[in-house]
Symmetry: D2
Subunit: 175 residues, 4 copies
């Protein structure tokens, strides 16, 4: 068959679409939650080495450090290492064990079992989309931690959705 | 009712989406064809004055001259007035009667009755989308003219889809 | 003169550019700081009425509520009114005095004199750009408050840069 | 050295910018012209095999077929093979010698020596930019061919600028 003749006869155009969709955004949020739980599970079953391997894979697959800096303000970081714009800084935050980041105990190792996300609003603009809302993390003991979380996701040229911005903070508590 | 409390209780986020969709692109293409036929009909029923009023409204509603230059190479223009990056140049092309554009006889006045579009491909990228394909114009006598046509549509901040690029040419005819 | 003939002779194309630039982002950040100080000054000189008029104008000029929901997590809000996706919610946060938002005392009224911004990273993507970094607010008594702040700015069709996302939080303090 | 501490001390943010610029657009246009001349030169010095190798490399480097369909209406194609949305169709147009495209004699083999581009307008929108204008190709005998040409360039995740749309047509000649 001659592909180009087939194309000329077909009335269905070939379509290229680089835009990110609400469905993809929700899926990326869910994937983040599933990944956090998996790192916790892997820490339980295989210790730090297994958890670190998983966290490294999650960062490669779901964050955009391969594209450039990621704007990441994790929940529990403090100055002068508040922002983790490099993959190393993000890995240290999630699993600890990096002498360059002495304050990191490994957020993802804390026995997380469940992640619930309630978005207040979503802003979709081309191949990037941002969400803002409450995220509730529940651990093995049934204790919940709620954070205010903003994400910006970018769909790359291969169609992979990556986190390029992540600002997480504990809710304000007036004294 | 307190809107913000209602929002906090709702699990459905407010969504902003500036992206253009394939459905909107097809609708914009159809609207262009309908507008061309309408200008022809208005010329038949109300003469140049009526046709010009309609064409002016079409340019305001469906082209992006309000945003900046439009990249417009009409089918039948010749140097030195090949490109019509201003609204005046586009209006002259469609309805003629502008001494600044002496070669324009008014493309949209030629009794068009039907417009058929077959896209070869579509490229969607944020709030802009481009199409390329064959467009067949049929007049009142049943005669058809086929052109190779490229459009780029942009969805503006109000959600209105506007033509920001339009390159139309007669198919190449080897002698 | 005939504009199109002049265009054909000119080798300088007309250029449309909807992209936001680093220069515009820095200017928008500075404008936000200047606006916060102005609201404080207007409160000092003209009371709540004057401060509210200014804050309202700032929201109209510098935020994107005219485009749709703004993803705004102010520093000091608490559930169930954590997120201020409407202009009313933002205005109440900045100047208080709205019975629908009883916890808001008016953040912008606290005598701010100086705003310093240190960006850790910037992400520019089309007509939107995000920043993340430390923002230090200094009041009339010389006391400083540091926040971790993320902004997303969008340049609209008129070229006006507007805040469409704003997540601000006090730094984490381990007990 | 600890990179994150160094970052915290630096006041210069890390910047990610996916936007395409006018400078990059002009460079991509010039590169296209240089590539066309090179294919012609390589045909002269090394025959069809050499020209085809170069054309293949140009398509891989400068067109966006790796991303998806390219909207390409070459100057001299005819139905039913007017549009070359695949790399094979583009290669056949430039160097011929493909029995699937019997009408292609190889546009790039025609001894081109010089390419001059005069843009009427440019439309920049995120990571894509479109140009429209006159392109004059001069061959070894000093004969010139002028075409009306539209290009859309997209900057990919690696920062490489690729042609995703290319509509070229001979100027209209009224009989």
């Amino acid at each position: 068959a001659v592909p180009s003749l087939a194309q000329a006869q077909s009335t269905e155009p070939r379509v290229y679409n680089s835009n990110i969709t609400l469905v993809e955004v929700r899926a990326a949020q869910k994937a983040w939650g599933d990944a956090l739980v998996k790192i916790s599970d892997d820490f339980q079953s295989g210790g730090l080495a297994k958890a670190k391997t998983t966290a490294n894979a999650v960062l490669d697959a779901a964050y955009g450090y391969n594209l450039g800096p990621v704007l990441f303000k994790p929940t529990l970081t403090v100055a002068p290492q508040t922002f983790r714009t490099t993959k190393e800084g993000a890995l240290a935050y999630f699993v600890g064990g990096d002498t360059n980041f002495p304050n990191d105990s490994g957020f993802a190792l804390k026995g997380w079992k469940k992640v619930d996300i309630v978005n207040a609003a979503v802003h979709i603009n081309g191949d990037v989309a941002s969400t803002m809302g409450k995220v509730v993390l529940t651990d093995a003991k049934g204790q919940s931690t709620t954070v205010d979380k903003t994400w910006t996701f970018k769909k790359d040229d291969s169609g992979v959705v990556r986190i390029v911005l992540h600002h997480s903070s504990l809710p304000y508590t007036p004294n």
